[in-house]
């Protein structure tokens, strides 16, 4: 059994959730919404956290994890409760711009099939676009940083094309590409290509000259220098570019899915916006944020593996 102080940290989320449940059920609603689903969700979460808190008394690892996240989780629950009060219960914020959490949950419940399909379609687009963007970005960034002649032509192109917003490309893309799907993939790839190229080039250019000089004296040819020194040396900066590309890709999704797709998060968001159904918009954004966060974590894991040699030397 844990100390009293530790127990309060473990049980804080459960307490916050129970307060939420009571207020949600007892306070009268001033807006129209189906409260049933939310009640079920909160009850379910209370059960989960209660189980976690109880078993934390017996399993050390679970105890550590819960007490670490407890403060954040509790604050989030309380903030959501406050938001619910000012929207659903008191009606202080104007509809339809500020839907209550209860209404947003409704979107998940009623549209879960469409949302799931949209997630699948968007993931397909994102994965394809991201891989292509990276495959084009890293080599072009390497060459930009290495060969002056390449930079002579590529630098202006990168600078002019990079900042063009995705929506401005739409008319051109629809005409130039054979299908609108390839056009959509191109848009995503473009948004990833720009930060990856710039960062790769920057990474190469910022490498200590002495590495190359020493390698040359030891007989390294150009290929060796490029692939075994420049590329690994620029790797940390390349990863920065990849993270930026990830965010770019998600942001471009809305524009990319304007071109006649059958489903997708951007398509769903456009639809919800057109119908002023903001609760659906926020629901989709929530999913998008979760997906992006998941991808970022995945990318971090990859980075930690590849850049493991850095672990002792930099702030990490």
């Amino acid at each position: 059994m844990q100390t009293l102080k530790k127990q309060s940290a473990l049980w804080a989320p459960v307490v916050a959730l129970m307060i939420t449940l009571v207020i949600h059920i007892e306070m009268p609603n001033k807006q129209l919404a189906n409260s049933g689903y939310y009640t079920m969700l909160i009850s379910f979460l209370t059960f989960i956290f209660a189980v976690w808190a109880i078993s934390s008394n017996f399993k050390q690892k679970w105890c550590e994890k819960l007490s670490y996240y407890s403060l954040f989780i509790t604050v989030v629950i309380l903030l959501t409760l406050i938001y619910e009060i000012i929207t659903l219960k008191e009606g202080l914020l104007p509809l339809p711009f500020f839907p209550s959490p209860v209404k947003i949950l409704e979107a998940y419940v009623t549209d879960w099939a469409v949302l799931l399909k949209s997630v699948a379609y968007s993931m397909r687009l994102l994965i394809l676009g991201y891989i292509i963007g990276m495959m084009l970005g890293i080599p072009s960034g390497l060459m930009l940083g290495w060969y002056k002649k390449f930079g002579y032509w590529m630098n202006p192109i990168v600078r002019i094309i990079g900042p063009i917003p995705a929506t401005a490309w739409i008319p051109v893309i629809l005409v130039a590409f054979p299908t609108s799907f390839s056009g959509s993939v191109f848009l995503i790839a473009l948004s990833v290509w720009f930060p990856v190229t710039v960062m790769t080039c920057s990474g190469v250019c910022n490498l200590n000259k002495s590495y190359f000089e020493i390698a040359r004296t030891l007989g390294a040819d150009e290929r060796y220098q490029l692939l075994k020194i420049a590329l690994p040396g620029a790797a940390p900066t390349i990863f920065v570019g990849m993270f930026m590309g990830l965010g770019s890709a998600y942001a471009t999704l809305i524009a990319a899915e304007m071109l006649g797709v059958k489903a997708g998060l951007g398509w769903y968001i456009n639809w919800a916006q057109g119908w002023a159904e903001y609760y659906k918009l926020y629901a989709a954004l929530g999913i998008s944020a979760l997906m992006c966060s998941g991808c970022t974590s995945l990318l971090f894991k990859v980075r930690d593996r590849i850049l493991v040699w850095q672990k002792g030397t930099v702030k990490w």
Binding site: P96, P171, G260, W267, Q273, W275, A276, E277
Partner: protein, 332 residues
């Protein structure tokens, strides 16, 4: 970093956020701001997005109707997407409310319709050699639209129902931005497309397409108002005089469209209010019927609410009477 330094950094961030949002709210609404000044300085902000069917706004503005009514009018360009938001948050006082705003109204946008504006302005076209001649031929086809559940999709769904076609399973709907719909059709990605004018009309005029559906020429749509005069709800409730002046402004503009369509079209293109050629705009303006008739507007709005509810664009939970009561007002 010392605690003081951290606090200092946080303070800068918080102050920046507050300054940004604070500067925004100084503007408040057009109504509030001008109410504080004297009556003669109340500037009417009328929003537009540059469509042919907003001709009454431009006609009235250029023909100095504002002076005749003793008011000051300012035209505000908005992007087509956020007309309803601009209106209901008070950034503009009135717009020409197209069916694109109807769903927003149902969702709680504070826009009140006060009068009818005109019939027709939404059409659908297919390639000239296409086997599609009307909504009856759309089973299994791909239809390009400007928005899911938008006006064209709503009307077309209604048509499909009349021909026993299920819009959810028998037809594939694909969304493109309106200027790209014709390109998508030319490339064969869709079999036909529909949206508001002038996009469906352009390939028809070029001899490349034919109209397969139109609410300008086909029954029963041609007998019902398509676009209305939409006024900010707050203005209707708190400044009825302003609302009446807005109604008169639109009415006068509509009359110009009836009596001098060619001049209005020429002016609109010259002053860059809208795109396309004067001939195209004149053709469209002549096709629509322009009239100011609040009572008829109410009847037509009721019809729209029924149709939109039947095809599922409006929520099943929406109460039609309550919606109509809240969103339409005949000004005395």
């Amino acid at each position: 970093m010392s605690k003081k330094f951290i606090a200092f950094l946080l303070a800068i961030m918080v102050t920046t956020v507050f300054v940004m949002t604070g500067c925004g709210s100084d503007k408040k609404t057009a109504a509030d701001q001008d109410k504080n000044k004297t009556k003669t300085e109340r500037v009417y902000k009328i929003g537009y997005w540059g469509g042919t069917c907003e001709a009454p706004i431009f006609a009235a503005y250029e023909n100095k109707i504002a002076e005749k009514l003793g008011i000051k009018v300012e035209l505000v360009l908005m992007s087509g997407r956020n007309t309803a938001e601009m209106l209901s948050t008070g950034k503009v006082d009135a717009v020409l409310a197209s069916p694109g705003s109807f769903k927003g109204i149902e969702q709680g946008m504070d826009m009140v319709l006060v009068d009818s504006a005109h019939t027709g302005c939404i059409q659908a076209s297919a390639p000239i050699n296409s086997p599609i001649n009307s909504a009856a031929d759309l089973k299994g086809k791909r239809v390009g639209v400007d928005a899911m559940g938008g006006p064209l999709m709503a009307y077309l769904t209604n048509e499909l129902k009349r021909h026993g076609i299920d819009s959810k399973t028998d037809v594939e709907w694909k969304v493109y931005p309106p200027p790209q719909l014709q390109t998508a059709m030319d490339k064969g990605e869709i079999d036909c497309f529909g949206t508001w004018d002038p996009f469906p009309q352009i390939p028809v005029n070029e001899g490349k397409a034919k109209i397969i559906w139109s609410n300008t020429t086909m029954s029963p749509y041609k007998d019902y108002t398509c676009c209305f005069v939409g006024v900010n709800g707050k203005v209707v409730r708190e400044e009825p005089e302003v609302a009446k002046n807005i109604q008169a402004f639109f009415k006068a503009g509509g009359e110009f469209c009836n009596t001098q369509p060619d001049e209005v079209a020429k002016m609109m293109v010259e002053k860059k209010y809208t795109g396309g050629t004067p001939e195209l705009n004149a053709q469209l303006i002549k096709d629509y019927k322009w009239y100011s008739d609040p009572a008829r507007g109410l009847k037509d709005w009721k019809w729209h609410v029924k149709i939109f509810k039947d095809v599922g664009v409006f929520d099943a939970a929406t109460n039609p009477e309550e919606l109509i009561q809240k969103s339409y007002k005949i000004l005395e």
